[in-house]
């Protein structure tokens, strides 16, 4: 079996293992039924819950739309983490880069009046640039001073959140007649078209063409890695910085460039949320997406296709989780547990090996995280 297939098998088994453990949690926490010694009811709760999870993710057009809506920012932010990983950098700063991109995209979105064909791309480009510039900061700090990007990106997340909070209260950004931190609406011409707009008045179908942007970004990431000299340099640096330096690569500029590329993906994530989903920005526009993106990149082993699949899976869990909460009393928080379990099983391949009684080596697995201490 090839290495890729082997790692794919482990990833799938990790997801299965997480679902199994979550099932136990659902049954055990069904206190009412268990208290009465009624295992049958507990099991049927479980069945309803997982069926709801699936139905809510793929069971209808609306479910699919919700999955896509959830997957869009996760994919773009996931690319921000994956692309940095490939260059040997651990980007915890997707949140901050998303916020930067959200604000620049927002500004272009409301400050100009242009035809949609120009306005939409312009606003997206502004988001990418905003994220890229903000992402380049930790890259430059590492290149210049050696400051570890894990620390600086976490710090910059804080800086970004509070700057956004302040910006949203300034005259330039704040919405007329509101005192809380919420922005003006972007012009209609800057809104990303809805994916299912052709269906007429189905306002419940939230999925927007930010997903197309995310797919294109995935293709760009693939092209960058496989076909370009820059991608080759990034990966060589990521695997072995000493050798890259010896080979004449400018590893310090590469750090800055790699982080700028990562930031531009995250910036697009922020921009697509503002221009596609909300139409405005609030202080919570980035939510936990920047952190969930780390799990997405890990699950996807930092490859373009893997990140895509992982983002869709996480989007589906999110969409299905809401349905599950409606159909049963199982709270949507279980999805957080489920995702955490997936990450845990990914990080502990030996556990998966033992559970599924797989023989042979698992050592090549679980090394997605390079660049620690680097």
């Amino acid at each position: 079996m090839s290495e890729t297939l082997k790692s794919l098998r482990f990833t799938l088994l990790a997801v299965v293992a997480a679902l199994v453990v979550s099932a136990f949690i659902i049954v055990i926490t069904d206190i009412e039924a268990l208290g009465n010694g009624d295992f049958g009811t507990a099991l049927s709760t479980l069945r309803t819950a997982y069926w709801g999870l699936f139905k809510g993710a793929f069971g209808s057009l609306r479910a699919i739309s919700n999955t896509i809506t959830g997957a869009t920012p996760l994919l773009l932010a996931g690319l921000a983490v994956s692309s940095a990983f490939k260059a040997g950098l651990f980007n915890i700063g997707a949140t901050g880069q998303m916020l930067a991109g959200a604000m620049t995209g927002l500004w272009v979105g409301f400050a100009f009046q242009l035809p949609p064909l120009i306005h939409v791309p312009l606003a997206l480009i502004a988001s990418a640039i905003g994220g890229a510039l903000f992402g380049a900061i930790p890259g430059a700090l590492k290149a210049r001073t050696g400051a570890h990007e894990v620390i600086t990106t976490i710090m910059l997340n804080g800086i970004a959140s509070f700057t956004v909070l302040w910006l949203l209260k300034t005259e330039a950004f704040k919405r007329e007649g509101r005192d809380d931190a919420i922005s003006k609406f972007v012009e209609e011409s800057a809104r990303l078209p809805r994916l299912f707009g052709f269906m007429g008045k189905r306002i419940d179908l939230l999925a927007h063409s930010g997903f197309i942007v995310a797919l294109l970004a995935t293709a760009v990431f693939w092209w960058l890695l496989r076909k370009t000299t820059l991608g080759f340099e990034m990966q060589a640096t990521g695997f072995n910085q000493e050798a890259a330096k010896y080979a004449g690569m400018r590893t310090k500029s590469l750090m800055v460039v790699s982080m700028a590329i990562a930031g531009s993906f995250a910036g697009l994530a922020g921009g697509s949320e503002v221009l596609g989903l909300y139409g405005y920005a609030s202080a919570t526009v980035a939510g936990d997406i920047g952190f969930d993106a780390i799990a997405v990149a890990l699950l996807g082993r930092s490859t373009p296709i893997g990140t895509l699949v992982a983002a869709i899976l996480f989007g589906a869990l999110q969409a299905g989780g809401r349905q599950m909460q409606v159909d049963t009393d199982v709270p949507i928080d279980l999805i957080i547990v489920l995702r955490a379990l997936i990450v845990m099983f990914i990080a502990a391949p030996l556990l998966v090996k033992a559970m599924f009684r797989i023989k042979g080596e698992a050592k090549s697995f679980g090394q997605t995280f390079r660049g620690w201490g680097g």
Binding site: T228, T229, A236, A243, A244, G248
Partner: protein, 506 residues
């Protein structure tokens, strides 16, 4: 005590690492286990040490079969292993490291460090290891760290001590000290298994020699009954050229000129101190010296990886002192770096990618932005064939190659283009005899093609055999410029040690 391996076979998917291997070792003798990289030495030792379980065959102690399911069993049976890469905690003292895992404890389980010190001193005195129990590991030279590992093994009461490539990291004088230690161990009734691919060392220290090739024992002999050529032939399976085959050089124009080159470390130490020399087209200039006398820094300064504090480097008449490594590469300099896994290769990338690692920006392999992978693959296939790189698939990771073949990847990449100057640091370190022969032949071929070649090596034999002129480096300075045809090994060795032969022969 007598330890035996009988008919050991160990298979891994696709290969038989050990094929019906039998050997025995008694206390009081030194057994050298010789073989090329990948011949199965390490697998065999891992079987002996309880890390692998053999598919066939058995282990016997004094004629009785025994089973190891973990290294703990092997240790209990009296086997000790000194690994090539030391397992020491750098920030702890010698005594702390030695007792790690078997700490002597006082009341309430507190660490009895005084007892630990006493134990270290006792073993150290008994075997003349001269260890200070309170020295911190990170302050100690490599040779001393190895002695700490030896004490660790002896304190666990090992009867048979296995050394895995023990001399690879040692300086020539440390190697001599190491041999003394081995003799003391044997004198005190311990048995020693010495794994190596250095023929000379096996002949010097061993009582018996077993040669392993492709998982099989292909020869058993004793130093008194054989010679280097014979063992090399057993190892490789064919006659091997141990002497470099070359005509005398026809030096032409100066291609590489180094003038008053000085390199200063960030902490202010001058590591290369006003070095000047020239290398002409069509000659090989060797730099001999004990490891740590500034050779690494000299090479890095010439290659552009380290800033020179003073002086200049000129390539074919052009001053390249301030140029980047890339500019030097383009100007026609090849560089075979000292550490192939840390510098020369990205071992996680494919062989193809490694074959273009320093050359991907050439128009042949890319057009500025886009990589031309089709062209790279084609060229890589040609290099794999031309340089005899043993692989079934060049798209596999470079880490799948043996050390010798990894080195051939670097040699192929660096020498198979139009170059004026080649700088090779430790070009054959840690690779097998067959590959050494091959790499040397390629270097001589490039010399004859008119390349100016600078070879830096801590292996005196290599420098003497390969070079047309020998420079000796000591404490950052070039202390001698010698003709290898007229100077003796002994005299060069004296220069390397910082003294001067009484009658200078050149």
């Amino acid at each position: 005590m007598k330890f035996e391996l009988r008919g050991i076979t160990k298979r891994f998917p696709g290969i038989v690492a050990n094929d019906q291997v039998s050997l025995s070792i008694s206390t009081g003798e030194v057994l050298a286990l010789i073989g090329e990289n990948g011949a199965g030495k390490s697998t065999l030792m891992n079987v002996l040490y309880g890390i692998y379980r053999p598919d066939e065959g058995e282990l016997m102690v004094d004629g009785k079969p025994i089973h190891f399911s973990s290294p703990a069993d092997a240790i209990a049976a009296g086997i000790g292993m000194v690994h090539q890469h030391f397992m020491l905690v750098p920030v702890m003292t010698v005594a702390e490291n030695v007792v790690l895992g078997v700490e002597p404890t006082g009341r309430l389980g507190s660490l009895d460090i005084a007892e630990a010190r006493r134990m270290v001193r006792e073993v150290s005195d008994k075997y003349k290891l001269e260890l200070d129990p309170d020295a911190v590991i990170e302050d100690l030279p490599v040779g001393v760290r190895q002695r700490v590992e030896i004490v660790k093994v002896l304190m666990r009461d090992a009867q048979i001590v296995v050394f895995d490539e023990p001399t690879a990291v040692l300086t020539p004088s440390e190697i001599l000290e190491f041999f003394e230690i081995v003799r003391t161990l044997v004198g005190a009734g311990r048995g020693v298994i010495f794994i190596t691919h250095k023929l000379k060392e096996a002949l010097t220290i061993a009582d018996r020699i077993n040669v392993l090739r492709r998982g099989k024992v292909v020869g058993e002999t004793a130093p008194s009954a054989t010679n280097e050529d014979e063992i090399a032939e057993m190892m490789v399976g064919r006659a091997v050229q141990l002497v470099v085959d070359k005509h005398s050089a026809k030096p032409g124009d100066v291609m590489l000129a180094v003038r008053d080159l000085t390199v200063v470390e960030p902490d202010g130490r001058t590591v290369v101190d006003g070095v000047s020399f020239e290398v002409r087209r069509g000659e090989i200039v060797g730099v001999a010296g004990v490891q740590g006398n500034g050779q690494t820094e000299l090479v890095e300064a010439i290659a552009g990886l380290r800033r020179a504090a003073g002086g200049s480097v000129t390539l074919a008449g052009r001053d390249i002192t301030g140029d980047s490594p890339r500019e030097r590469h383009v100007a026609g300099m090849a560089h075979i770096p000292e550490d192939r896994q840390k510098q020369g290769l990205v071992v996680d990338m494919s062989i193809v990618e490694n074959l273009v690692l320093t050359r991907y920006h050439d128009p042949e392999f890319s057009s500025g932005v886009r990589m031309n992978w089709a062209g790279a693959k084609e060229k890589a296939a040609a290099m794999v064939a031309a340089y005899d790189i043993r692989t079934t698939d060049p798209s596999q990771a470079a880490s799948t190659l043996s050390g010798g073949n990894q080195q051939k990847v670097i040699v192929a990449r660096e020498l198979s283009r139009d170059i004026k100057v080649a700088v090779a640091a430790q070009p054959t370190r840690g690779i097998d005899v067959g590959s050494i022969e091959y790499v040397h032949a390629q270097m001589v071929k490039e010399r004859d093609n008119g390349v100016a070649m600078l070879v830096v090596s801590t292996e005196l034999d290599e420098v003497m055999a390969l070079s047309d002129r020998v420079l000796v480096m000591y404490r950052g300075k070039i202390v001698a410029d010698l003709d290898p045809r007229t100077v003796s090994h002994m005299d060069v060795g004296l220069y390397m040690a910082g003294s001067r032969p009484t009658a200078v022969s050149s």
